[in-house]
């Protein structure tokens, strides 16, 4: 059957949110969105997740904050950012007019701060959902983040879900013994979706000076290097959860994105690829469309979870 470009239906329905296509730009790799306006049409994205926001402005880590490793990038930005008030005053009015899903990545140094961020943002218009970044170091538990245990994940998600007027996507950390258990805890607590993975805790050092290459010593690894592990985790989580899964980790091409859908993700996020090519996310959408055309797939959602393991 010959299909023309227009016939592929790229839209996906997350239940609480319909996206015009399955590609979101990932938090922390897409600034506040506006940085990318010179390079792509933001409305061609399924949506984008803005950089993680704490309540107040945040200083971030001392440099160096980035180091490249083979096919990967380790970052230790330390979630530097402008805080919710400046975001609402300066950025959100410009995002509100866009016909695409704007998702805010919510951070907190303790559960109260997550709640305060959501409470403040609930009073603003123009946000489609919150992505709860449960990988933030917690001041009350010696820097451990909520993502590390099912209990802390459950407590935080439950509290935020009860308080929020918007859907919650819980973003999982891969730095755990069993990501499935954490995902299930988030689901039990009422999350509307899960997103995975965040970056892998990593380190690089300089042999000659014997010093760590990052100011913060540790950082998070992203990029093509993590894709196979991320894909495995998405597959495992998607096969156990009822809520939709948003997959990410090293997606550089339309084929990469489609693999995550086949593994069970309802949508994907594109991160590090946007640094290499500011228009990567939009290119990935058109590559997915072309693949669907070539393979007679009329609606991209048809391939979600079609991995053949038997």
């Amino acid at each position: 059957m010959a299909l023309t470009a227009k016939t592929v239906d790229l839209s996906v329905d997350l239940g609480f949110l319909t996206l015009k296509n399955p590609v979101l730009a990932a938090s922390g790799t897409f600034g506040y969105g506006l940085e990318f306006e010179p390079y792509l049409d933001l409305e061609k994205l399924g949506g984008f997740v803005v950089k993680g926001l704490y309540y107040g402005p945040r200083e971030g880590n001392p440099p160096p904050r980035l180091v490249e490793t083979p096919s990967g990038l380790i970052n230790a930005i330390g979630l530097q950012g402008i805080g919710v008030e400046a975001f609402a005053a300066k950025v959100l009015p410009k995002l509100r007019r866009l016909r695409t899903a704007v998702i805010v990545n919510v951070c907190g140094a303790d559960d109260d701060e997550y709640a305060a961020v959501v409470d403040f943002l609930d009073r603003q218009e123009g946000i489609a959902a919150y992505e709860l970044n449960i990988s933030c170091p917690n001041v009350k538990t010696e820097g451990l983040c909520p993502a590390l245990s099912p209990r802390t994940t459950f407590d935080l998600v439950k509290r935020i879900k009860a308080a929020s007027r918007r859907p919650i996507i819980t973003k999982l950390s891969p730095n755990v013994t069993s990501i499935v258990e954490i995902a299930q805890a988030a689901e039990e607590a009422g999350t509307d979706a899960v997103a995975l993975v965040n970056t892998f805790l990593a380190m690089a050092l300089d042999l000659e000076t014997r010093r760590p290459k990052l100011g913060n010593v540790f950082g998070g690894l992203s990029g093509p290097a993590i894709k196979p592990i991320a894909l495995r985790m998405v597959y495992q989580v998607a096969s156990r959860l009822k809520v939709p899964v948003i997959g990410m980790g090293g997606i550089m091409t339309g084929a990469d994105a489609l693999e995550f859908l086949v593994a069970g993700a309802a949508a994907v996020e594109v991160g590090t690829a946007s640094f290499v090519d500011p228009d990567a996310a939009v290119r990935i959408v058109s590559e997915m469309e072309r693949w669907c055309e070539a393979h007679g797939v009329a609606a991209v959602r048809e391939i979600v979870g079609t991995v053949k393991t038997a």
């Binding site: 001392p62 440099p63 530097q80 090519d277 500011p278």
Partner: protein, 261 residues
């Protein structure tokens, strides 16, 4: 700010580890100002993954010139490109040097260390066009590290060279050479690009002699467009200081705003 995916490499010149590229990239060249930079994709591979920042060595309506030193894998791959090859570049990015009208008839000192000379040719031309009197101070470790002396001389610039080992020009650091000249004839402004230690010394020299100065800073860059917050330096503003993205607010900053760590 545009992406030129198919910028044709017109010509290559090289001196040991140093390379000069002339690139056909009208959309980048047209809007470029001295001190701005481009992000170059060195290859369609994932290792190296990121683009590399390079200063705009010169620009006109037809394209740009680059001047770089091979520092590692990325610049190594770039150095093996041949005329006719295509480059994928984003630019012009960042805010450049200030070339004020007030400089007409006045002296401006341009100080470049090693590969840091790259943006100063374009700046020198702009200053000359604005009626200023630029003098270029070009320092390197050895004579092999200052391959652009002829180019600056042929373009008619007043040129002072130095090498750390004394193999060419003034023997010693370029900063000492600059300080001697500042004492002899105080310029209206000093512009600099080079290794951090050089710029740090120069910052204290220009502060001591009360000469305004602008420095082009370097950092590893994730995106070059203000999206990753990876490229920060400690910068002062009206109220205090903080980590500022140099790709967006810089890479050029006035000396008094930079905290040298």
């Amino acid at each position: 700010m545009t992406i030129e995916r198919n910028a044709r490499l017109r010509a290559v010149r090289s001196w040991g580890d140093y390379f000069h590229f002339s690139v056909e990239a009208p959309a980048v060249g047209r809007g470029a100002r001295p001190g701005q930079f481009v992000m170059v994709k060195v290859d369609d591979c994932t290792s190296p993954l990121l683009r590399r920042p390079l200063g705009i060595h010169d620009a006109d309506a037809g394209g740009i010139e680059l001047f770089f030193k091979v520092a590692g894998a990325g610049t190594g791959i770039l150095s093996r490109k041949k005329p006719g090859d295509r480059l994928d570049i984003i630019g012009p990015l960042g805010k450049g040097f200030t070339v004020g009208d007030g400089l007409k008839g006045k002296k401006a000192y341009l100080v470049g260390g090693g590969r840091g000379i790259a943006p100063l040719f374009f700046l020198g031309r702009a200053l000359a066009a604005a009626g200023a009197r630029p003098a270029v101070f070009y320092g390197g470790r050895t004579a092999a590290d200052i391959p652009l002396c002829d180019k600056f001389e042929q373009a008619g610039f007043e040129l002072h060279c130095s090498t750390d080992d004394g193999s060419f020009g003034f023997s010693g650091f370029v900063t000492a050479l600059v300080e001697n000249e500042i004492i002899r004839a105080k310029p209206a402004i000093v512009y600099a690009c080079g290794p951090d230690p050089m710029m740090k010394v120069l910052a204290s020299i220009t502060a001591k002699h009360a000469v305004p100065a602008e420095f082009s800073l370097e950092s590893i860059m994730g995106c070059g467009i203000g999206a990753c917050w990876g490229c920060v330096h400690r910068i002062k503003d009206g109220t205090g200081d903080g980590w500022v993205k140099i790709c967006e607010e810089g890479p050029v900053f006035p000396g008094e705003r930079i905290l040298w760590l």
